[in-house]
Amino acid sequence: MSFDNAYFSVGFLDRLSYQDTFVHRLDARAKVIITAAFLLAVISFPKYEVSAILPFSLLPVLLMTLGDIPAGFVLRKILLVSPFAILVGIFNPVLDRAAALEVLGLTISAGWVSFFSIMVKFTLSISAALLLVATTSFPGICNALQRLGVPGIFTTQLVFLYRYMFVLMEEAMRIVRARDMRSFGQRGRGVRVFVRLVGMLFIRTMSRAERIYNAMLSRGFVRGDIPQLGQHRFALIDLVFMIVALGLLVLFRMVPVTGLIGQYVRGVFAG
């Protein structure tokens, strides 16, 4: 992923997360819990299961459409990070050659079935994570995590990282541009130059941290906590959303919806 691209896509996710839709207005805690439950449900399917996992795509699609998240963006991000899962999964068809299914005279090996299972799980789990951050502001997620019991030091740390990530990424971007303008081809891209560049960035970061600390002191920062303004309330609509979503997850996990629909349709055509 090129630098500008990475920077752009994080910035884009950030902008998406401050939209005002039904999904964005839901309490962050509800969305964090549902995302976790969704991941567990999807990942818990056995390795040769493909069709029963498909109904789970309902949830990401609903979040995407109701939350006004461009589908192309999510799909592109999934493609960008797919190499590792493909790399490890692609050995399944090679190593597991037992015949599994026969479709229209073609025999599909068990390895291909488990490979597809991995890819379906991969797509669903990555899109769930992306949609969580695209529909919830990052400080909101951190606040939700803290209220769900994650240590405050860690969530404060996440908030800081996020806040200064953009500043430092821009600084790194300027450094990379400057280096590229002063070097042809592979010259200047070696470890020596890199170490000095990063060392300099590091020293600048340290003095920035000092300035930030002084600024925070003068704004009432004590005991290592960031003072929170505004109360988050868990409203009735959040509860309803959670019950409906959890109900769907349990239904899809326990009942093979896909198979039932398929049997029903075949029954209709046969009768």
Binding site: T65, V81, R189, V198, Y213
Partner: protein, 339 residues
């Protein structure tokens, strides 16, 4: 290398989440005990620094491919093990959320693989003893390379183990190990050289930064060995418990790993809870897990009719979901134009 969600079983993912959350809780408690407020913004900004520096690529000597900084060891050297671990965990969390590196269920594994080994083992047990009190360039260099290699070897081995215990990938244990360990030896050496370079450069230009962090006065520096042993015993118990639960829940994965590790698929008859669970699984799963598992090389034993309805159902489900999404979007667009 980041672990991915799709290769994990929930029990392995949950086990490592428990381990990583435990380590985060432990590190936070130790930090709170004598909290230096300055550390809070410093950790955050340095984590952002690791992020930004990962955007600057360099050419790996001799190969022509490009690499970037991992950062776990560097954070431990500058911040001490506890704050370094928390900062590294936050870097990995943001990577999982915004760059979809690895995924959320695998985040527990990734924090463990890439953060815990460098901060809790490599730094206190390898880097500190070699580097000593006031290290020169050569000591920093040796200490960085040895500890970065050690941390990455342990991390790579963990990835292999996690994949093995999850049983989602068909990759044989030995082959995967033989692939991962040498690759991460190279990555570890590069990480060590770069870490040494940055630490050396900074301690030359602004010596007080590195001295302040690694000296005794630094908050959180110096892990007591007794605490370390206690934590690892606890983690061993958690991991063991988690994995045995996994074994009884999912006999297929165990069979798989026994076959891969020992070369023969000997597994005694399943009884009791395991077989009951397997029966339930058989009834609920459309393509029963072992329907074709237990016919090695033979013909497919799955009824063709059930297969066909599975595929028809899949097409219909996907079609319905897609239509629903497009429908909502169309309705909203129209509503938006009218408003």
């Amino acid at each position: 290398m980041h672990m991915a969600d799709a290769l994990l079983s929930p029990s392995v993912g949950a086990t490592f989440w428990a381990a990583s959350l435990g380590a985060i809780g432990f590190a936070s408690r130790r930090l709170r005990e004598r909290l230096d407020e300055r550390l809070v913004p410093l950790m955050g900004v340095l984590a952002a620094f690791v992020f930004a520096s990962q955007m600057i690529n360099f050419t790996i000597p001799g190969t022509g491919s490009s690499g970037h900084l991992g950062g776990g060891l560097l954070l431990a050297v500058v911040l001490g093990p506890y704050a370094g671990f928390i900062a590294m965990a936050s870097v990995l969390s943001v990577q999982a959320l915004f760059f979809a590196d690895g995924g959320l269920l695998a985040l527990g594994c990734n924090i463990w693989n890439l953060g815990a080994y460098s901060c809790f083992i490599a730094y206190p047990l390898i880097y500190r003893p070699i580097a000593g009190r006031a290290p020169g360039k050569r000591r920093i260099f040796v200490a960085s390379i040895v500890s970065a290699v050690a941390a990455l070897q342990m991390g790579a081995f963990s990835v292999v183990l996690e994949t093995l215990f999850s049983g989602r990938s068909e990759l044989p244990f030995g082959t995967f190990l033989m692939f991962m360990q040498p690759v991460h030896l190279a990555i570890g050496i590069v990480e060590g050289i770069v870490t040494a370079g940055v630490v050396g450069y900074v301690s030359h230009a602004r010596p007080e930064i590195i001295d302040g962090a690694s000296g005794q006065s630094a908050p959180g520096a110096g892990v007591s060995v007794r605490n370390l042993i206690a934590v690892f015993l606890l983690l061993a118990a958690v991991t063991g418990g988690g994995l045995s639960w996994f074994a009884s829940e999912n006999p297929d994965g165990l069979e798989w790993s026994i076959e891969r590790v020992y070369g023969r698929p000997d597994l005694p008859e399943q009884q009791g809870a395991a077989s009951a669970l397997k029966n339930i699984q058989e009834k609920t799963a459309l393509l029963p897990d072992y329907g074709f598992r237990e016919t090695p090389g033979g013909q497919a034993s799955v009824e063709a009719g059930r297969t066909l309805s599975g595929i028809a159902g899949a097409a219909i489900v996907l079609g319905l979901v897609l239509a629903l999404g497009l429908g909502i979007r169309a309705l909203r667009d129209r509503g938006g134009r009218r408003a």
